[in-house]
């Protein structure tokens, strides 16, 4: 995984702005965002999600590299001890899933979505960095 300095250099090179705060939204401005939801209970197991593309992009148009940079920035800056998220197996999430895997997230389980169970949900975890 890249260092925070490397990610910031990459953002400068591409004229991107990276921002975010705990329990808030983390942006690769004008491109994509993720939300940090914190943890409901003991704060040991915060979660993030809501992978969204900024208008006019669609989720599948965001590249794996862009997701990797946003996620690395989030991981390096938020300093959570542990990370968890869920994504779906649908093709729009192809680059998100590839980025998570590339950053060392482990796919702990694949479960059926509760929304009718017609698609799969991947549960990803990343230990302390």
């Amino acid at each position: 995984m890249k260092t925070l300095r490397q990610v910031q250099a990459w953002a400068r090179k591409h004229d991107y702005l990276l921002s975010g705060y705990r329990k808030g939204t983390w942006h690769l401005n004008g491109i994509a965002s993720i939300d940090d939801n914190g943890d409901a209970y003991c704060c040991a197991m915060p979660e993030f999600g809501y992978f969204e593309a900024d208008w006019p992009y669609r989720l599948e148009e965001i590249t794996q590299e862009q997701w990797e940079m946003l996620l690395t920035f989030y991981i390096r800056t938020s300093k959570h001890p542990f990370f968890r998220t869920t994504t779906t197996a649908r093709k729009q999430y192809k680059h998100v899933n590839a980025a998570l895997q590339s950053l060392g997230f482990m796919k702990e389980h694949t479960v059926r979505s509760k929304h009718g169970g017609h698609y799969q949900v991947y549960m990803w975890f990343h230990p302390k960095v």
């Binding site: 003991c42 704060c43 959570h80």
Partner: protein
């Protein structure tokens, strides 16, 4: 892990009052099976004591529920294992996660998770108050692989 039947478990709670949402729902419009408590405190009590826990539905993909804030007040004739097993069987919970600290929580709670077959998939540190306290992260998927795809 084979759980006791609902009838068998209900015998343990005769004389106790249940509060909170204990029913799994189905929304035919969305064709969605859901645990009816997006946020609830499930509680079993009588005159001498109570045990309770909170349940939070997952806000993102709805793949699992978080459970936490486990409390015991007074004396109960049932254990944490009885409580959790009853909750799992009665609600038909499909997938849930909990983070338990052996040092902070009642040790019988930690043991209950192990005995019920929750997978202790990671260990980490709390972020506040008990900085050095280690926390075990547990996950439950109904019927093990049967519920997984």
């Amino acid at each position: 892990m084979t759980f006791r039947s609902l009838e068998e478990l209900e015998k343990l709670f005769v004389g106790y009052e249940l509060q909170g949402s204990w029913v799994q729902g189905y929304d035919p419009l969305k064709n969605m099976v859901w645990y009816s408590a997006f946020n609830t405190t499930v509680l079993i009590k009588n005159q001498t004591g109570m045990r309770s826990m909170q349940v939070r539905g997952h806000p993102n993909t709805c793949a699992y529920d978080d459970i936490g804030r486990f409390y015991t007040v007074g004396k109960c004739s049932f254990t944490w294992k009885d409580f959790l097993e009853y909750w799992l069987v009665k609600t038909g919970e499909m997938c849930c996660m909990a983070s338990i600290s052996k040092g902070y929580n009642d040790v019988t709670l930690w043991e209950a998770f192990k005995e019920l077959g929750f997978k202790n998939f990671a260990k980490t540190q709390t972020r506040h108050t008990f900085e050095t306290q280690m926390v075990d992260l547990f996950i439950y998927v109904k019927n093990g692989k049967a519920a997984s795809v």
